[in-house]
């Protein structure tokens, strides 16, 4: 079996594997989602249980 050659130092094997590359568009979309979640976080967390329970309405058709 041929030896895989590498020009990098052997110590690099111990370094954490880099994250899988993320396409720029996907990254910016995730950033946009995260900043939106930042903005609504307070609203969502405030009295969530009470807020959810207070929405009860008999069914329609």
């Amino acid at each position: 079996m041929p030896q895989t050659t590498s020009s990098t130092s052997p110590f690099e094997d111990d370094a954490p594997a880099p994250d899988a590359p993320v396409a720029p568009a996907a990254q910016s979309s995730t950033d946009a989602l995260d900043s939106l979640l930042d903005e609504i976080d307070d609203t969502i967390q405030t009295n969530a249980t009470q807020f959810v329970r207070s929405f009860v309405q008999k069914g329609g058709q």
Binding site: A26, S29, T30, A32, L33, D34, L36, L37, I40, T43, I44, Q45, N47, A48, T49, Q50, F51, V52, R53, S54, F55, V56, Q57, K58, G59, G60, Q61
Partner: protein, 469 residues
């Protein structure tokens, strides 16, 4: 007095179909410090401004649509007759804004009545106690003697389409919570019947065509989820329309009759990996992706045949295929700006990771409610869309226009003109899907039996009598 002779029905291209969507909105009044207020009381205040101009809480609007309070105090908006999907999506989205426009005055009236709080309107299908309300699709079909057999062929489609057109939800049970494709699936109790509230069928067979009954029937589908994402709504209505075109050309769909539709719709809803199989009447066991793929291939085989190829048809088939693929591969990244369940799951998952909580956490239930909030500024879906995280297929200009202007190529154009003119005149009038009537000493009525007819001399005469006042 009935005005004039009823004109002969127009001869219509088979590819033209009247489509409509009816949406029941969830109505939530959040007022933690006030006395208890019933949904009926909130709905009454919400619709006060409607009653002021329309003298009723059950009105037709200048865009041809119907707006009213349905059973259970649900604000309901039914689009006017549309004959294209882009028109339908614009009219449907306009409804979200029309009901939202009632909120500020409703809150002010409640405050004046001593209850300070916030009104939320949700375009979703369940409240927090599990009560369900619907989104009903209407498709005008050519009358035939075997309607029930014709429609029942579509049941396997309606059972399995949720893997692409479902709105997605968290299902909470005694053993924790899980993601499901469709919040509506658990509330379906039979395949076809004429009942709605007591025993919800997927296809309602009540024969109310709102049109010339010798020529037409209305297929009334109540198994769908309400959807806010424009590409999802277009796919939901467009895929059904394409299958109907095949059936109306007297061609066959693959025989996918299910052994038990109720079991199948639930099994499919609760397995977002798409691996669950359902039993067919012939004993085969297939997944929802198998069923949908088979139907998609049948439609594809008829493009350039009974289905004329258009950019819109191509777009529908493309999204349908990518949706099936996303489920089969358990990789929603290819549809996460277009299919409602994928848009929603992405947000829920990201927020759940951030909180490090389980799926049954009440903050995620709160997030689901925020997602469906129709408020343009507060609603999470609308904010995702504003930030470019949801694909659009109609413009804001089209939606704003659709709030006041009817589709111009159907009967809705006549109704819209009449409502606008009658309101300006101050005369008493009544309108329904097939009648325009001026009340008073010399009542005059026009019967509009042809939903495709957008020009009618009798309506011109009726409007002239208004001008003459």
């Amino acid at each position: 007095m009935m005005l004039g002779e009823i004109p002969t029905p127009l001869s219509v291209d088979p590819a033209r179909r009247i489509l409509g969507l009816e949406t029941e909105f969830g109505l939530h009044f959040d007022a933690p410090n006030s006395r208890p207020v019933t949904p009926e009381e909130v709905a009454g205040h919400l619709f006060h401004s409607v009653v002021e101009w329309g003298r009723s809480s059950n009105v037709f609007l200048t865009n041809g649509a119907r707006l009213y309070i349905d059973v259970g105090a649900h604000p309901e908006y039914a689009t006017a007759e549309c004959d294209s999907l882009s028109q339908l999506v614009a009219q449907d989205k306009a409804g979200e804004r029309i009901v939202h426009d009632l909120v500020a005055r409703g809150e002010a009236r409640l405050a004046a009545a001593g209850v300070e709080g916030t009104i939320y309107l949700y375009k979703n299908n369940t409240d927090s106690a599990g009560n369900s309300y619907g989104c009903h699709e209407n498709y005008l079909v050519r009358r035939r003697a075997d309607f029930k057999a014709f429609a029942s062929v579509l049941l396997p489609f309606f059972v399995s389409r949720q893997i692409v057109t479902g709105s997605g939800c968290i299902t909470r049970g005694t053993e924790g919570a899980h993601l499901s494709f469709s919040p509506r699936a658990d509330h379906m109790w039979e395949g076809m019947s004429s009942a709605t509230t007591r025993s919800r069928p997927m296809i309602n067979t009540r024969d109310e065509p709102h049109a010339n009954a010798e020529l037409y029937r209305r297929m009334h589908v109540i198994v769908g989820d309400s959807t806010m994402a424009e590409p999802t709504t277009r796919l939901k209505m467009g895929s059904t329309d394409l299958l109907l075109r095949i059936l109306e050309a007297r061609l066959r769909l693959p025989d996918l009759a299910l052994a038990n539709e109720m079991q199948a719709i639930r099994a499919i809803a609760h397995d977002v990996t798409g691996k669950a199989t359902v039993e067919l009447a012939d004993g085969r066991h297939l997944t929802a992706t198998d069923l949908q793929e088979s139907l998609l291939e049948t439609v594809r085989s008829q493009v350039d045949g009974v289905i004329e190829r258009t950019d819109e048809v191509d777009a529908i088939l493309d999204l349908w295929e990518r949706g099936i693929h996303a489920v089969r591969e358990e990789d929603p990244s290819g549809v996460q700006t277009e299919l409602e369940w994928a848009i929603k799951f992405r947000v829920l998952e990201r927020y759940r990771e951030r909180l490090g909580c389980a799926l049954d956490d009440p903050r995620l239930a709160r997030l689901e409610m925020a997602f469906h909030d129709v408020s343009p500024t507060r609603g999470l879906f609308n904010r995702l869309q504003a930030d470019g995280l949801v694909t659009r297929i109609v413009s804001d200009e089209d939606i704003v226009a659709a709030k006041t202007s009817p589709p111009d190529s159907t009967r809705a154009a006549l109704r819209g003109r009449f409502v606008t003119a009658a309101l300006e005149s101050g005369r008493d009038y009544t309108v329904d899907w097939v009648h325009l009537k001026l009340s008073g000493n010399e009542p005059r009525t026009v019967l509009l039996k042809d939903p495709f007819r957008n020009v009618d001399e009798r309506v011109d005469v009726l409007l002239e009598t208004l001008d003459a006042q």
